[in-house]
Amino acid sequence: MAVPARVTEAAEPVLRLRGIGRRFGGLRAVDGVDLELYPGDRRTILGPNGAGKTTLFNVIAGEFPPTEGTIELFGADVTQDPARHRAKLGLARTYQQSRVFDGLTVEDNIYLAALGVRTGHTFPFRSSKRDAPLRAKARAAAGDVGLIDRLQSMVSGLSHGERRQLAIGMARAMEPKLMMLDEPAAGLSRAERVTLIELLSALPSDVTLLLIEHDMDVALRVAQSVTMMHEGRIIVEGTPAEIRANKDVHELYLGSRYYDE
């Protein structure tokens, strides 16, 4: 099943995976995955729990290296590069469990996200006064994700939904070219999901989005294309409509109770 043709086909891919595999002992968590994303793509990865989606994210982000295959980001082979280099190239990600900094305020969390991809934070005595523009950016990102009233709150006191919002605010503050979100809707209320869909739909059109999502509403509304994974492999790719109509997908996923974590 072909991925829909697009005008940007000629451009350099944002992300190109070739034969990516990752083993944990005898387990092939990811197995022979090929994937290409072009600027502005909105792609969702679907798949039951244990399909290897998060592992694939970890490999792309540089959390650990793949056991097979190569990863290209923005045209450069980054297979052996550390995670922080990939962040500096323009990759931002969120985690399945919103990984935020509990001992800091909301503003400091987003500020750290904006600061990391820049230089100068390894000099202990550099004044924070010079960072007024970054602070402004952090506050703006907090506003974008609906946390403007919570700027000075400690993150340890946030609700689950607010932590999710914060995680996305942090990813946005990095101003990435490729944004990878791991189940951003998990555990959100219906109203919070609507906000999330609006938030994701409002991303600048040149930002490439790779999404892992169980929630079909979010997954199929935000995405232009869908990749279905099962037991570490990609089994189907297509448009949301094609995926909805696909028999295998139904058997594996939509008909089952997999989306309840």
Binding site: D102, L104, Y111, P124, R126
Partner: protein
Amino acid sequence: MSATVTRGRAGLRTGMTWPVLIGWGVLVAVAVVLLLAPQIFSAYDLSQILTQALWLGIAAVSVTFLYRYGGMVSLAQVAIYGIAGFAMGNVVHTINSEGGLNLGWTPWAGVAFGIAVAVIVALLFGAIASRSYGIYFLMITLALSLLVFYFFGQVTKLSGFGGIRSISRPGFIGDPITDPKPLYYTALGASVLVYVLLRYVVRTPFGIALQGIRDDPPRMRSLGYNVPLHRTLAFALGAFVASIAGILSVWFNTQISPGSINLAQTIAVLIIAVIGGLSRLEGAWLGALAYALIDYYARQHTPTLGLWLNPGRFATIIGLVFLLIVLLSPDGLIGIGHRLRDLAGRRLGTPPTSDTAAAREEQALPETAGVSTASGPSSSGGQEP
């Protein structure tokens, strides 16, 4: 929820709540007592309790800083101040050439050299230890502490177990035994400078990033930070602070030997940081004062009670008092202080400060205790992948 924040901020901005006033009152009183201490206390008390507490506090605050803001439990701080002390002791003039190289440098050149050596060793060592977390980091720093102890014990050219004696001091300090005032004010000034420096650093981009690393190192990596480098630099900053304590301790004791930096001293400095309270930097000096006081009185006044207690067992008393403090308040003396302040504030008719930004900061202790907690991503493994 936003109401909480607004109330907290308003309380801080107007600065008129009782707990805030009590806080300022305590600060002013402490400042006055510290400045007038030489007029208030006997020369012996000034030296043995206050000067001792000030330099021990500087050593302990390097532990507090690394833990509170970096999530690192370091047992190497005493070894590091030992390195500074031995390095200085070797290069400066020692009267009658009692141990060490006795290169005859001026005292101030010795200070610069001692601090530089300690910081350089910390950078090298930090580069090794910075990929370890929790109990593994603690064990590596313990190894450094033992290594330094035996190094100076066995390399007799540099020290030997007898140590280096009669190390010369800058002229203005004079002889602390006959006139303890100059050294007292020096230690006080150094403490204030160290405190201000650390308070400043933790709000710089570096300091905030360090707190991010404390909370979740892999997350910081994926935000673009060089986590091992950052931790190494924080460790070196902790070493810089500890080395100041090392210099002061040599001036205080006029000598240094491996016995001054043995395991007991390593543990003593850790205890000082803990009983003071790890949630705030001030806790280090509070803990050091308590330590100096208890040490002083227990040695003098431990009664004889049958077979099991006599003046020779003053250490038992010290241990019991520390146990009591930690049991009464998990956040040490700082925690007791906060509770007293809030209690007094409530009596005087204003709500406690528990909603203010400052109070929230006080409560935000790192989860990566290293020794006791096994949860959280940062304490889950010894080495980064």
